[in-house]
């Protein structure tokens, strides 16, 4: 049956409309869970608030479990689900740059727009600076192109690269997630509480 658009159950021209609705819902939930606070987001790097790690890790394993159960029930054809292509070298460097920006600015791209939406000045500065960064990257793209496309592995998933069955990979991921939640809550108890 699914995914609904690639299987032509929903016309592809609805793509942007659905994206807008999902985006509004996502932004609303981010904001109402407190993700528009740069102090809360940066807390994960200083050890006083691990909510970012907990929320996104939980979201990832919940969605993954859901997808594979849907596939078993025949509700979704996983081969039609888009998997981002992996470029190892540029992903690592990009991740480091994004991490640095996250620590310095206190936002990731999505949450910065979310916070700019409720009028936070730091988020507006962050969003504008991000656009400026995109401009610089685009201007230097001809120089960076070789590196940008390096280490291409194709549209692969982690369990394919590791050669593990999906089930085993998922159980390892869940155990790692639960372990991370437990350890971070221990750290959080040790670190002095920050009021924000």
């Amino acid at each position: 049956m699914g995914p609904l658009i690639p299987s032509n159950i929903i016309d592809p021209s609805w793509n942007n409309v659905i994206a807008l609705l999902v985006g509004v819902a996502f932004g609303f939930i981010l904001e109402s869970s407190g993700f528009s606070s740069s102090r809360k987001l940066a807390g994960v790097f200083y050890g006083y608030d691990f909510v970012v790690l907990k929320v996104f890790f939980t979201a990832a394993i919940t969605a993954a479990l859901g997808l594979y159960y849907f596939q078993y029930l025949g509700w979704i054809n996983m081969s039609l689900v888009y998997i981002n292509p992996t470029y190892v070298a540029s992903t690592i460097v990009g991740g480091v740059i994004m991490g640095l920006g996250f620590i310095m600015g206190g936002y990731c791209p999505g949450t910065s727009y979310c916070a700019a939406g409720i009028g936070k000045i730091d988020a507006i500065v962050f969003s504008v600076a991000m656009l400026f960064g995109i401009l610089i990257f685009s201007e230097f793209y001809p120089l960076l192109e070789g590196f940008y496309n390096s280490g291409f592995l194709g549209n692969v998933t982690v369990y394919e690269v590791l050669g593990l069955p999906v089930g085993w990979f998922m159980i390892i991921l869940i155990v790692v997630a639960l372990g991370a939640f437990f350890v971070t809550s221990l750290i959080q108890d040790k670190v002095k509480e920050v009021d924000y």
Partner: protein
């Protein structure tokens, strides 16, 4: 630790263990043979040499030409902006990386149609989209675009317009200019006025 945390964590673990025992439900993304056959019969995969010439001249950013001939042939001549992916290398990872570019129409070409068609079928079976073939290949392109034959005077206006467009494209690709016949200069023209003979006037 809160009781609700323990319950939620165990739900996740149980669901994860469940996945191990579920039968792996592998469906490939190969398109079904019936669909492929329909597409083969439809002939919508062809791009004419005229359309391609127009899109290259307009530097259409969505055109991604793919030369599926050997590297040796491709080195000798490639269309502007083309990438060489010899048919035998089509399935390699670095070749497949080309097809992840968004917003591109991938147009295969070879000397004739055959290699390009083979590349098209293989790529369709891999589930790739927006794939086209240059109709007639490079040979037909030379015939139509680079050395167009003038239509007979009795042919309709469309044929003459097409010929004009092809002449223009030929100039664009080869850099030649159309020969314009300049009239030969006339020799010295004698402009001396003839003296009028006096008519005989009067008389009877």
């Amino acid at each position: 630790m809160k009781k609700s945390y323990v319950i939620l964590a165990s739900v996740l673990v149980i669901l994860g263990i469940g996945l191990i025992f579920l039968k792996a439900n592998r469906n490939t993304n190969e398109i079904p043979p019936e669909v492929l056959l329909n597409e083969l019969n439809e002939n919508t995969r062809y791009v004419s040499t005229d359309e391609l010439a127009k899109r290259i001249i307009e530097s259409d950013p969505s055109v991604q030409l793919i030369d599926v001939r050997d590297a040796k042939d491709a080195l000798a001549f490639m269309l502007p902006g083309a990438i060489n992916i010899p048919l035998k290398d089509l399935l390699k990872d670095e070749s497949q990386a080309v097809f992840t570019r968004d917003g591109k129409d991938f147009i295969f070409y070879s000397n004739g149609d055959i290699l390009a068609n083979q590349a098209w079928i293989l790529s369709r079976r891999l589930g790739l989209n927006r794939l086209y073939i240059l109709k007639g290949g490079l040979n037909y392109r030379v015939e139509t675009i680079l050395q167009p034959k003038p239509p007979a005077a009795t042919e309709p206006q469309e044929a003459i317009d097409l010929y004009q467009a092809r002449l223009g494209a030929s100039q664009f690709f080869t850099g030649t200019t159309i020969e314009v016949k300049t009239p030969e200069p006339l020799g010295n023209i004698d402009l001396t006025r003839k003296t009028k003979k006096k008519k005989v006037e009067g008389g009877c």
